[in-house]
């Protein structure tokens, strides 16, 4: 197990994400309504922290999305599936919605999240912002923003290793870890 970012590192990465979302917003012109939707169970925490930095852009349009019911591996995970609430209290129709997740790998969660969003409403555009892109895609999905890009092989990750983002208050401290796979989180 090794740490690739500590508390300050995580804060810096979230700053970077916020800045690049802001740049997109500036380019997209006026009169656009922006919103953040985080995928449970770490993306929602990142979305909340981004919202603190983007208060003027998104206001209180911050939601969390549970994708359990949209997963394509439900029959395999079976009894391990835990359904949590989806909390999106604003109207996403015509919104510029930034989907937020912690680690992007296969892209399957993102596919599920997009389908779920489309069932909730009709956003004008859906963006994807992730804290870490570790590569390993199984679907044609690419992030608009990745604060930490590991796809260039700069940090070697073995096949049996996972990248985990830990965030308070769900976890004890903020950090990004690479560790050996061991069952489900």
């Amino acid at each position: 197990m090794r740490s690739i970012a500590d508390q300050d590192g995580v804060a810096g990465l979230i700053d970077r994400l916020a800045q690049s979302i802001r740049r997109d917003a500036a380019r997209s012109g006026k009169n656009q309504v922006w919103a953040l939707v985080g995928i449970r169970s770490r993306g929602d925490l990142i979305a909340q922290r981004l919202a603190e930095r983007l208060k003027d852009l998104v206001g209180d349009r911050v939601g969390s999305l549970d994708i359990t019911l949209y997963r394509d591996d439900l029959s395999e995970i079976g009894a391990h599936a835990v359904v949590r609430t989806t909390e999106i209290t604003f109207d996403i129709d015509q919104c510029q919605v930034v989907l937020v997740d912690d680690v992007l790998m296969t892209g399957r969660s993102i596919r599920a999240a997009i389908q779920s969003l489309m069932d909730i409403g009709r956003p004008r555009r859906v963006w994807l912002a992730v804290l870490v892109d570790r590569g390993g895609r199984e679907l044609p999905i690419a992030p608009d923003h990745a604060a930490l890009d590991l796809t260039d092989g700069s940090v070697p990750i073995a096949e049996d290793e996972v990248v985990e983002v830990h965030l308070k208050p769900t976890d004890d401290k903020d950090e990004i870890l690479i560790r050996r796979k061991e069952g489900r989180r």
């Binding site: 949209y70 439900l74 079976g78 359904v83 609430t85 489900r184």
Partner: protein, 326 residues
């Protein structure tokens, strides 16, 4: 939901036959799952793909409109296919009919059988004779677990206990024909497991002493009990099940055990009024009470959908992974 130490909780019940067979943790997990599913019904597309390609069969040996409609809609909101199978009372022995019918249906390749049957224990027998999941939608005078669960959910919603589903310090009166009521039994098991206190109220003829062994207080006096409780669950007078003279007249029953506007004044201001439906207006409660602000009757119906979605989702999820158990 995940304890600080040890293994994370996993739902292992392939069947839902009664709340008697679930732990407090099981019940809370199911109610939390229902919370996660409730918002599906408020969105523009009221459907999620969780049970796509699965088949749910409603196998009803007793007439039912509401429960069946609720299960059907719940299954459809999870994108399952639904088959309705109604068996009217016939001269054939019920036990044989049940087994044969169930095996015939199972041969069509179904994943869940939702069964209502006039005999207590029928769904247990069914669960033993088929490989798919069985959900009890009411068996005789035994249990009606999804009704019990939706009552717990509604109570938690009204009393602000959705975060914990813990009913410590809460007292609920279940009023009426307790003897014949599967709704009462499921409620008693559920409330007791989640920390609540239960007072059963009714005429002595419909209130067997044995219920005291389930940890309930028994009373024949609604007026005395009403000021002490946080919620009442008014059971329907089931004319179809009352064979002997259980009480002298409907009017007398209504006088002693009906929830009238006048009687409601003796209760705590925030009293939650529940009824499993359909209401005999003027008997179990006045129309003014049934339609009043304290009535949770329509919330019960709405919540029934979420609870049944959670039930179907979880029993299917436990298939294969779980050891065989009720």
């Amino acid at each position: 939901m995940t304890p600080a130490t040890g293994q994370p909780y996993v739902w292992t019940h392939k069947h839902l036959l009664g709340l008697d067979y679930l732990s407090a943790q099981d019940i809370r997990f199911l109610l939390n799952t229902a919370r996660g599913l409730a918002d599906v019904s408020t969105r523009s597309v009221k459907k999620v793909p969780a049970l796509r390609g699965r088949v749910v069969v409603n196998l009803f040996f007793e007439s039912s409109t509401r429960t069946r409609a609720s299960f059907t809609l719940a299954a459809e909101r999870l994108t399952a296919d639904v088959l309705d199978f109604t068996v009217q009372g016939s001269s054939v022995s019920k036990g044989e009919t049940l087994r044969d019918t169930a095996r015939n249906i199972e041969a069509m390749g179904v994943d869940v059988i939702v069964c209502r049957h006039p005999l207590s224990g029928a769904t247990h027998q069914l669960a033993q004779s088929v490989k798919c999941s069985v959900v009890n939608a009411g068996d005789g005078q035994h249990e009606h677990p999804t009704q019990g669960l939706l009552d717990l959910y509604t109570l938690a919603q009204r009393l602000g206990r959705m975060e914990t589903f813990d009913f410590t310090g809460i007292t609920v009166a279940i009023v009426g024909d307790v003897a014949h009521s599967r709704v009462a039994r499921s409620n008693i098991h559920g409330l007791r497991k989640l920390g609540g206190k239960v007072i059963l109220v009714g005429p002595a003829t419909l209130l067997p002493r044995g219920f005291a062994d389930m940890g309930c207080e028994l009373s024949n006096n609604l007026d005395e009990v009403l000021p002490r409780v946080d919620a009442v669950n008014m059971l329907r007078v089931q004319f179809e099940r009352l064979t002997s003279q259980a009480f002298p007249s409907v009017r007398e029953y209504a006088t002693f055990f009906g929830l009238t506007t006048q009687r409601l004044r003796q209760a705590k201001p925030g009293l939650v009024v529940m009824h499993p439906g359909p209401i005999n207006r003027g008997i179990e409660m006045d129309s003014a009470v049934a339609d009043g602000a304290q009535s949770a009757v329509l919330s019960q119906v709405t919540n029934g959908l979420a609870v049944r979605m959670a039930t179907l989702f979880l029993v299917v999820g436990a298939q294969g992974a779980a050891p065989a158990q009720a």
